[in-house]
């Protein structure tokens, strides 16, 4: 194959310009501005600023509700990632069989991913809302969303369900790329189905699992906002108020721009940190082909 060459030195930069422009305006500038504002007290209306040092950080970390939200988010993310990856792998394995109508099932199982979080929230609200939720009627239990202990469960289930399609697609593709030769030779060596799965399939799936872990962490921390807003508004009594929801309230409802900027920096650091840590520890265990 012959590669085309560009002799113009400036052409690449010109071609990159639109992308860079978008990135600067919508990503870099807001990020830098957020970083800056986290060290200021900000007037809620005019945006006038007053330097405050680490005031915002000290305040948010001495707020027990924020700390609760911090722990809650970690638990929530753990549950969403754990259950999400487990069930999607399970479903992907089932979908990887040769049975009649498999294309049909595949399409339907991937469907939830096409929904926006707010719509997914509305669907679960239809099932669980205390006034006329379908499942409230069938279970005879009204307080799914108004009792803190069950509300977090509903939110976790909804979040897992919503992202199932995404995870399944990736696992399904990965499963198809597991070399049959390796599986065959293992079975000749006397490995049973379970051993084959854990030693061969699982190992070949590890890059995908790693990728999905990172994506699901971001999903659990950031993209579940709409679900929570529709289902519980962070309640009852803060039992579903994860960090992103706390941030939303502080900025959009309470107009505490300084706090919100600091919280957003914390959230950013947290997710980058988790991903970095994950790269450090799992890199060795991940087998790329």
């Amino acid at each position: 194959m012959r590669q085309s060459t560009f002799n113009n030195k400036f052409l690449p930069y010109i071609l990159l310009l639109p992308t860079m422009f978008i990135l600067v305006v919508f990503l870099f500038y807001p990020a830098i501005e957020t970083f800056r504002l986290s060290f200021f007290k900000v007037h809620p209306w005019t945006g006038a600023t007053r330097f405050a040092g680490f005031y915002n950080f000290i305040k948010i970390f001495s707020n027990p509700e924020y700390l609760h939200s911090f722990v809650l988010s970690a638990m929530f993310a753990f549950a969403v990632i754990g259950l999400g990856l487990f069930f999607s792998l399970l479903i992907a394995i089932l979908l990887n069989q040769k049975i009649a109508g498999i294309r049909f099932y595949r399409t339907f199982l991937i469907w939830p991913y096409a929904l926006s979080p707010a719509i997914a929230g509305a669907l679960f609200n239809f099932l669980f809302n205390p006034a006329n939720g379908v499942l409230c009627y069938f279970t005879g239990y009204r307080s799914w969303l108004t009792d803190g202990r069950t509300a977090i469960l509903v939110v976790i289930i909804a979040a897992v369900w919503k992202n199932l399609g995404y995870n399944v697609i990736f696992y399904l593709t990965a499963l198809r790329n597991v070399p049959q030769a390796a599986l065959e030779s293992a079975s000749i060596d006397g490995a049973g189905a379970i051993k084959r799965f854990f030693y061969i399939t699982f190992a070949f799936l590890s890059p995908t699992s790693f990728f999905l872990f990172v994506m699901n962490t971001t999903y659990a921390y950031f993209a579940t906002f709409g679900l929570i807003d529709v289902l519980t508004e962070g309640g009852p009594a803060g039992s579903t108020r994860i960090l992103i929801y706390h941030l939303y309230k502080d900025f959009f409802v309470h107009s505490k721009t300084g706090y919100a900027a600091a919280e957003s920096l914390v959230l950013f650091t947290l997710v980058v940190g988790i991903t970095f840590l994950q790269f450090q520890t799992s890199e060795k265990k991940v087998h790329y082909q």
Binding site: H43, W45, P130, T232, G235, A237, G238, V253, S255, K256
Partner: protein, 445 residues
């Protein structure tokens, strides 16, 4: 006689007119100069078309003015958009805010106070024609900052058919805490498991403090010369409200349907609940929902403890003008919000939505038409409002961090449902609110 009349006229012309023209030092703007203004509001659904129709009429009467009217989401969304737009230098000339944003906006530095604008452009706003509760809510230290637009109060709605079946008087709804609880017990005995409900909203709590003629915050309920520094809602009055409210939930008489405005309406419409509280602007909607099932609906005043002497405060929203616009635009904006507060728009608004008309003349006209004979439930809401004595407490509390205070109260009520003692939860909410007030007062300086 004629000479006397003439003399009086002359006196008026020579003595009063010069004051009217020169005393207020207004500016002269060509009334017919062209202007183009933006108006952002927070009313969704069919209300978008209704507001558009007011604006269309206004433009037809003022062909030199062009109005771009936009629905910008909830009150909260609208305020956030106004904030961003203001920082970017293209704030709308007129925007719509909820009542609890009032003190924040007065201190925001982004608005033009209404009375100042009216003086500047020599437009007379007939404040005496506005209902007293409406005026007293929006008047802050003697002057008006925004134009009252959509006003409502909470109201009790009950299912007359169920009342009759349970042996309760369908024409005489309970008016006290004890009364509601006793009615609920009878309804339960008649087979309605959880007969009472309303949505988790701090508004009811605030109004039920007004009903006891107690303040929500200090500094004359937020209306004094100093900004409020502490909330007062954890008083005995506040506790009394929640001991009763949460008590009914504990007894299983009250169904907790969570926040939002859909669930309690649904529970009432399906016959699950026989007594609810909701906004007075729900009359149309709820009457229709019950009629569909062949049930009759009644309305009553929101309940109070025995002997309490207060009244309800007005809720809803008002129209604000932002600063930094040309004289022509300001005048156009002023004319627009005046037009929307006039009888014709207010009557159409009342009929189309259920919000009160804010003006007495509009009310008189509705009475003359026989509107209230056809719609007696609207009269309940009016009477409840007009029966309210005038005081700083029934005017409604003002607080810069009101939206946050609401969140704190709602969270506290959920903690009470889960078992926390009323006083403890309220005191904790108050302490958090006070800390936020201190910060707010510091930042706003």
């Amino acid at each position: 006689m004629k000479q006397v009349k003439m003399a009086v006229m002359m006196l008026i012309i020579t003595v009063v007119l010069p004051f009217a023209v020169f005393a207020n030092g207004g500016v002269d703007v060509d009334e017919s100069a062209t202007a183009s203004i933006e108006f952002w509001h927070a009313m969704s659904g069919e209300r978008i078309d209704l507001i558009q129709s007011f604006v269309d009429k206004f433009v037809a009467e003022n062909p030199n003015i062009a109005v771009d009217v936009q629905y910008t989401g909830s009150y909260n969304d609208t305020l956030n958009k106004v904030k961003s737009a203001y920082k970017a230098g293209n704030a709308p000339d007129v925007f719509h805010s909820y009542e609890i944003g009032t003190l924040g906006l007065i201190n925001s530095g982004i608005i033009s106070p209404l009375d100042e604008m009216a003086d500047k452009y020599k437009k007379d706003i007939p404040w005496n024609d506005f209902f007293t509760p409406v005026q007293s809510y929006y008047k802050y230290q003697g002057s008006h900052y925004s134009m009252p637009f959509n006003s409502s109060t909470p109201l009790v709605y009950y299912n007359k058919t169920f009342f009759e079946e349970a042996g309760l008087d369908p024409e005489n709804p309970p008016k006290t805490y004890k009364g509601i609880r006793e009615a609920a017990l009878k309804l339960r005995a008649a087979g309605h498991e959880t007969p009472v409900t309303w949505n988790l909203h701090s508004w009811y709590f605030e109004e039920m403090i007004c009903l006891q003629d107690e303040p929500f915050v200090n500094s004359d309920n937020g209306r004094g010369s100093e900004l409020p520094t502490k909330v007062a809602f954890n008083s005995a009055a506040g506790q009394k409200v929640l001991e009763w409210w949460v008590g009914m939930e504990k007894e299983g008489l009250f169904l907790d349907v969570g926040p939002g405005w859909a669930n309690h309406r649904a529970a009432f419409g399906s016959g699950e609940a026989a007594i609810i509280m909701s906004s007075s602007s729900d009359v149309n909607r709820l009457t229709a929902a019950l009629a569909e099932k062949g049930w009759e609906m009644g309305t009553g005043y929101i309940p109070r403890p025995e002997g309490a002497k207060g009244g309800v405060a007005i809720g809803g929203g008002s129209l604000w003008m932002t600063n930094n616009h040309s004289n022509e635009e300001e005048l156009a904006a002023l004319k627009l919000i005046s037009f929307i507060s006039e009888d014709e728009s207010q009557i159409a608004w009342h009929k189309g939505t259920g919000y009160f008309p804010v003006r007495k003349t509009a009310m008189d006209q509705l009475k003359k038409e026989g509107w209230f004979e056809e719609n007696p439930n609207y009269l309940t809401a009016f009477n409840q409002l007009l029966d309210s004595p005038e005081s700083l407490n029934t005017a409604g509390g003002l607080l810069g961090i009101f939206p946050e205070a609401r969140e704190l109260i709602q969270s506290a009520i959920q903690e009470m449902y889960a078992g926390k003692p009323v006083k403890k939860a309220l005191d904790e909410a108050a302490a958090k609110a006070n800390a936020s007030i201190e910060e707010w007062n510091d930042i706003m300086q």
